[in-house]
């Protein structure tokens, strides 16, 4: 069963990295959003530094939404999902393997790019570290919350819009605690670990509940 899990995980990483995989789309979108912000806000370094973490987080959230619609849709369209459902690997583990591979090819690059893009927003080193840390924990939560919507809309031709509308409200707590942990690290009025622990809890909760909910959605897709 572990071999089957790894095989699926590796296949999805490979598909993401190859032409047409779309792993780079979210990252490029993230780059574009963050780079145009200084032009829109104007040459006020203090203002940019203050809203910088929020810009990075909002951009990461939107970049996550792009590409989520293909998480199960691609396998549904070409019939692979039927075979995955029949395989000895239990469906929750299929969802988990696909979700993890999706996070590594789309979510993790966002967190890793954040410190470099933070420089564009005049963030101080402490803020760079805090944003990167919160994004590292927060992006898996976003991916697995999104997986629920991806599973529900996998059979739709243009499911991306409905997917975004469905999962955006569920992502707001992650955004709130991601930002508040970052500002806690900067201002120091509350300890950093308080909101950060909640963020970790949200990520773990999303990992489990997203996997279970997406599994149920796929199982009941046809009737």
């Amino acid at each position: 069963m572990i071999a089957a899990f790894i095989a699926l995980f590796r296949r999805d990483l490979m598909l993401g990295a190859r032409i047409g995989g779309g792993a780079g789309v979210g990252l490029v979108f993230f780059l574009m959003l963050v780079t145009i912000m200084p032009f829109a806000v104007g040459p006020d370094m203090a203002l940019l530094a203050r809203i910088g973490p929020a810009i990075l987080w909002v951009a990461a959230l939107l970049a996550t939404l792009i590409g989520l619609d293909r998480l199960f849709q691609a396998d549904d369209e070409d019939g692979s999902l039927d075979l995955l459902r029949m395989s000895p690997l239990p469906l929750p583990l299929v969802v988990l393997a696909k979700g993890l591979a999706h996070w590594i090819s789309t979510g993790l690059p966002l967190a890793l790019a954040a410190p470099f893009l933070g420089l564009l927003l005049a963030l101080e080193p402490k803020a760079l570290l805090a944003v990167t840390g919160t994004l590292l924990v927060g992006t898996p939560a976003l991916t697995f919350i999104g997986a629920i919507g991806a599973a529900l809309t996998s059979g739709m031709r243009r499911g991306g819009l409905i997917l975004s509308v469905l999962v955006m409200p569920l992502m707001i707590p992650v955004l709130i605690f991601g930002i508040s942990a970052t500002s806690a690290a900067l201002s120091g009025t509350i300890p950093f670990m308080t909101p950060f622990s909640v963020l970790i809890a949200l990520a773990l909760f999303a990992l489990v509940s997203g996997t279970v909910a997406a599994t149920l959605a796929i199982q009941n897709a046809e009737g």
């Binding site: 089957a4 095989a7 598909l15 019939g79 075979l83 029949m86 009737g223």
Partner: protein, 201 residues
């Protein structure tokens, strides 16, 4: 010996009854061709047996198999769609399915040679023709052991030579005690019983 028993099976899709009271028995080494007009429920029947669609009533049982293995894991399902990724090579595709499905039979390279795709082993599947893609999908049947093959229009897009090759694969599978259920319009090139679904009356 294994045998597949279907009893009192009914399917209702979107409120419309597709078929009801369907019963049949498939013995080891036997092939069954499911015929019938469009919309008679041939594909639905195969998908229900594969566990991909819920049946509204009735039971399906594989007798003589491993007691704790669900039917879905005793069956290969070859649908209308070939389940191929354009960016993966045939070798990578089969290697992946072999690791995922377990109970390996042929090596991916050997399976490709048996369906006549040995020369395209390292070419991305995007470059394959419709018939070659179908043959690659057929090669999936050979890499993992499954006693029951559920085939939906297996010979679509195949040329005459490939059809002969496909018949050979089925005959070999039947000879080793396997079972085949194939939904088809054209007559199949191997000995099989025929089961006709009624369709709209």
């Amino acid at each position: 010996m294994m045998r597949l028993v279907i009893d009192g099976l009914a399917s209702i899709r979107s409120g419309r009854p597709v078929f009801s009271g369907l019963g049949l028995v498939l013995e080891a080494g036997e092939a069954l061709a499911i015929m019938g007009p469009n919309g008679a429920g041939k594909s639905s029947l195969l998908r229900i047996v594969a566990g991909l669609l819920p049946a509204s009533e009735g039971r399906i049982q594989l007798e003589g198999g491993e007691a704790d293995t669900p039917l879905a894991e005793e069956a290969h399902y070859l649908g209308h769609r070939d389940a191929l990724k354009p960016s993966l090579t045939p070798l990578e595709t089969l290697g992946f399915w072999q690791s995922l499905l377990g109970r390996p039979l042929e090596t991916p390279q050997k399976a490709l040679e048996r369906v006549g795709l040995g020369h395209t082993a390292n070419l991305p599947s995007a470059y394959l023709s419709a018939g070659q893609r179908r043959r690659l999908a057929l090669a999936r049947l050979l890499i993992a052991h499954r006693p029951l093959w559920l085939l939906d229009e297996p010979t679509s897009a195949l040329d005459a030579a490939s059809e002969v090759m496909f018949n050979g694969l089925v005959v070999a599978h039947l000879a080793s005690g396997g079972m085949v259920m194939a939904a088809t319009h054209a007559p199949l090139g191997f000995a099989c019983r025929t089961f006709t679904l009624g369709g709209r009356s």
